[in-house]
Symmetry: C2
Subunit: 652 residues, 2 copies
């Protein structure tokens, strides 16, 4: 703000965060990483109420819950709560606005973020996406104003990932034209539900819809759970999960229902319900397809959690890197004044490849948010696009949250004992982000979903070809349907085409070589998985079970490739030469780090020579050294204003 920005890389009307000092290069990198959302993100950052951003880490969990509720209402007042959620039946959803607001909230207390996500994204989102006009008009105004606080009661004690197996029942009672909601077994207890322990007065309850003795599959119904004094309504039992590993400001609890009746109109019936004639009716005949369509509308939650994980990791990297730029550890014979932590190669290896990956994931997130905005923004789209969005969202959620957990722990350790003090914020971030790996879909299960979706695509392309036919077809199809391009298609095709002819003659930072290796990893592992899957009898648990690790590998290979391509597209869109030069290095570092992680695979499959594999490691060291002088600017580019980090040891 006090700096003059490079006109080549900054738009003239770019608003700034009040009080933030930023280098030109840092600003240009931030603009590039913000990508297609640069204007909206800059605007959101500049107006975000940052005065009360972080919670006192010493609050007890009841105090933390009070604080979070106050903060949530502040954010609602500032327009950052229900952003993007329609306010009534005539309002339209703005999914990108919702994701961008969620990202901003992820710059502050993560309990507040998730409280907001529960209220607006899950509870509000279910009403908006699964309900119809009456629900929208009746409930969205008070949901979006946070007057009516609610729960998203899907998970059961006995059924986490297996939503189709829920045991709660929603039984139609023709005599009174009501639904009866009932927890059939202890396993049917709704568990880990946000807003259930204290604040929620209504819940969207998922369960098996039984109509005239027939199970129509999982549906969702609105059930009031507390009266205005906070007491459980008749038939409803709420209880408190108490302390957790993090997110102490959220009142997670359990819900059980003992034959609780609600009027028929309380069922969220966009995709099916009992009609005025007392019969079940749905616009989707196939029960399986109906189930996945209903779940599919909830994809925004995963897009948001992926974004939140990415931001949490960026906060950790910003704190740890800024600390490593001021902290000395030992002296050296030729550095009697001491060596900065970040001057140690071992320390660079802890932080700089992770920063590169944070950029990569950021570019992938930009594309995912764009896909969400396209599919849920009211425009035309195909079922195939919808399915691809779901696959990408599942995959990026798993990838970004795994990255967040690993990175925040690395950042904590990289700051030594100081990193363990709550006042330096890393342990709180780490604790709060932990469960991102589990909620909105367990990461392992999500990666399996990704692999299954890729196999489905693969089968549609190759059908029942024999092996020779498959190999030939693959040669023709690479870069097409199965390896769907995310962006910058022509560029990447050209890069790969040039690289595949003489891969070993290229430099280690040749982008075409990277793209070629990423593509080979995905293609080959997917092909071999498809062959093994064909050999396994799909009904034989053990035969399919043995492919578990292979499936996870394929999913990761796919996500790495999609992410690299997003990074390449992001660099293409960057106009400033200085920022572009740094992004090229970060992209090479991301690519080589990924290749190094899977070096054994590339060697085993003769995709690189042993000499080249050794050289990759040395090149990673070299790139860390090249990026070291711009470490501050690179961290500024991650987009977290220094004043928002709140780490005591940076304030000295």
């Amino acid at each position: 703000m006090t700096q003059v920005m490079d006109p080549a890389t900054r738009t003239s009307n770019h608003p700034e965060v009040p009080g933030e000092q930023l280098t030109d290069l840092g600003a240009a990198l931030r603009h590039a990483l913000d990508g297609q959302w640069a204007e909206r993100r800059a605007q959101a950052r500049a107006t975000f109420p940052s005065a009360n951003l972080l919670r006192d880490p010493d609050l007890s969990y009841p105090e933390a819950r009070d604080w979070v509720l106050v903060r949530l209402r502040e954010l609602v007042d500032a327009g950052f709560g229900a952003a993007g959620v329609p306010r009534n039946a005539d309002d339209t959803a703005d999914p990108a606005a919702a994701v961008i607001a969620f990202e901003l909230l992820a710059h502050g207390d993560l309990s507040t973020l998730i409280k907001s996500g529960v209220q607006f994204g899950l509870f509000g989102g279910a009403v908006a996406n699964l309900g119809t006009r009456w629900h929208h008009d009746t409930f969205l105004p008070t949901i979006t104003s946070a007057e009516l606080l609610g729960c998203y009661a899907m998970t059961e004690l006995g059924h986490g990932s297996d939503v189709a197996g829920l045991e709660t029942t929603i039984t139609y009672i023709p005599e009174t034209d009501e639904y009866e909601v009932h927890s059939q077994t202890p396993d049917a207890t709704k568990a880990y539900i946000g807003n259930a322990a204290r604040d929620g007065s209504m819940a969207v309850v998922f369960g098996q819809l039984l109509v005239h003795g027939k199970n129509q599959g999982v549906h969702a119904v609105l059930v009031p759970i507390r009266d205005e004094n906070g007491a459980d309504l008749p038939g409803v039992s709420t209880s408190d999960h108490g302390g957790k590993g993090g997110l102490q400001g959220i009142d997670n609890g359990r819900l059980t229902f003992a034959r609780v009746r609600v009027p028929r109109q309380m069922l969220l019936n966009r995709y099916g319900g009992v009609d005025d004639t007392g019969r079940y009716a749905s616009s989707i005949d196939n029960a399986n397809r109906r189930f996945f369509t209903m779940l599919g509308t909830l994809v925004r939650g995963r897009v948001c959690i992926a974004a939140g994980g990415g931001i949490a990791a960026r906060r950790g990297l910003s704190i740890a890197t800024r600390y490593a730029l001021k902290r000395h550890q030992f002296t050296a014979p030729d550095r009697p004044g001491g060596v900065l932590l970040l001057d140690y190669l071992t320390h660079q290896r802890r932080l700089i490849p992770a920063i590169a990956r944070a950029y990569a994931i950021g570019f992938a997130q930009n594309e995912l948010t764009e896909a969400l905005a396209h599919i849920q923004g009211g425009g035309e789209h195909t079922e195939r696009e919808q399915r691809q969005l779901e696959t990408r969202a599942a995959g990026l959620k798993a990838m970004a949250t795994r990255f967040a957990n690993d990175t925040l722990q690395e950042c904590r350790e990289a700051c030594g004992g100081a990193g363990f003090m709550a006042e330096n914020r890393l342990v709180g971030l780490r604790a709060d982000a932990d469960v991102f790996a589990t909620f909105e879909g367990d990461n392992t299960v999500l990666l399996q979903l990704v692999a299954k979706a890729l196999l489905t695509d693969y089968k549609q392309v190759w059908g029942d070809m024999d092996r020779a036919g498959m190999v030939q077809a693959t040669a023709r199809m690479v870069g097409d349907t199965v390896l769907e391009r995310t962006a910058a298609n022509l560029l990447i095709d050209r890069l790969v085409g040039a690289a595949k002819r003489r891969p070993e003659e290229l430099t280690l930072v040749d982008r075409g070589w990277h793209a070629y290796l990423f593509e080979e990893r995905e293609r080959h592992s997917l092909e071999s998985l498809a062959r093994r899957m064909r050999g396994a009898n799909g009904r034989d648990f053990e035969a399919v079970n043995r492919l578990g690790a292979h499936m996870l590998f394929v999913a990761r290979a796919h996500l790495e490739r999609v992410t690299l391509e997003a990074f390449i597209a992001g660099i293409e869109a960057c106009e400033g030469p200085d920022a572009r030069r740094v992004l090229e290095r970060l992209c090479s570092l991301f690519a080589l780090d990924s290749i190094s992680t899977d070096a054994a695979w590339f060697l085993e499959h003769n995709r690189i020579s042993t000499g080249r594999a050794k050289a990759v490691d040395a090149q990673i060291d070299a790139l860390c050294g090249e990026l070291r002088p711009q470490a501050l600017e690179v961290v500024e580019g991650l987009g977290i204003p220094e004043g928002w980090l709140g780490a005591a040891f940076l304030a000295d």
Copy 2:
């Protein structure tokens, strides 16, 4: 206890944990893993006061501190507090008893464990090891009874790993025959010190000893810090670090000293101090050697933390595995009743290789404890043995605590949302064990110490030989000095000798092949590090800095080899055929998992073929499947009584 034990694998007088049910195989595995300490550990387990083992996770940190102090005194009364610490000048230390007591405490609240470690291990240990008769007689009785609570004030805000660079000064004042303790700069503030915020009334303060203007290097002095009402004494300022990432029951704080005077006799002067003539005197002339001798006496802390990390990981694995043996996730076409979590190969891969590693680390810990008992138990030992103990302790501490952090996180995630609830204990364990990676030596720095020690050994053997000479000498020396055998020497020599001739013809579970690969990894990487180090100018920071990642690799390779050999020795000592069969599988799993992690290295250095590298992964899957039916027994063998786990979801 209600089971009849197999007489071949159980000693007749083996005491049992009250109320514990144990399978025969579980008991035999536990006996084998307890190793040379089986009798003492069983005795300790059977008498350990387990009634008040775990803390209510919802206590605020001031409440937690109160609880911990009460619990500490209970443990002292039961003989588990200052176990092994001499009670006065005429008592002898029993280092093995200290480590075994520390292990038992690690079965309970980890704040209590570390509070005990601070009081008895660090504070008491410094007085015992660095003090002389007057200190012992004056202070040890009330230290060991926990009447005099104290601090171990080594770390400074500006100096964590760099102990030689401490800025606190201890200046001799001839006029009054006193020492003056002073915090010269803000960086000299003692930080993260246990017992400093609230409970400590005395501190062992480390600082530069200045006598007549000459700096004699780091020494330690006893300084009273609080009066009987808990108020800071004149010149002393204490403050509270407040909340932390874990260990909330410990009152970590800061200490600063403004020219605080203490009588001359308060200096812990076993290795040096001002004598009655007013001059500095030391039994060790070389200041550097004196410094390392003083620090070397404190090795027990690292041995204990390694043990504590190992136990924490075993607790997590016990909880997660027992949960995976009762929890269903999805159904499968041929398993309509549902599939147990542990039946999924992906879930087995999360837990079973980690269990194998827990056994491996346990056997390595047994040997380390034995070495400590030998060196510090009052017997004869060489300086070389002392140095080797320090290297092993540093290395195993880094290895076991890294393992604990990674494993506890994996266990948390493997239990899904339930794993995130405090009542199921995983998040608390995870949070408390986190800082084990940092205190008693930052893990990265410790691994560098290991590599440096190996290089020193290497130099002593090879001297200034040229490269050809080195290679020849290496061929003769393998299995000798540099690759010092830990146990079962002849057996391992024979195994390796047989394996190296035709490594690729052996089965994947051939122990000789494993030992050969582990040895090759260490030998080759150490040799190449030595060559690179010789090429680098030791005074050129950048030249040495570039070797950082290589040093870490060498240290890990060394530790893996030592650990494998300890495992082999442990199997050799196991007499029951059933337990032995299981241990063989666990050992193969540990070895192959390690080989798989470094598969790229083995491929790059032509130690395995690409086909064999692929087969390693399949063999890991197969071993997980073979161990799956004995999962419960294997977990029982880890030695944590089920009733002590305290996880709510296991009680259902």
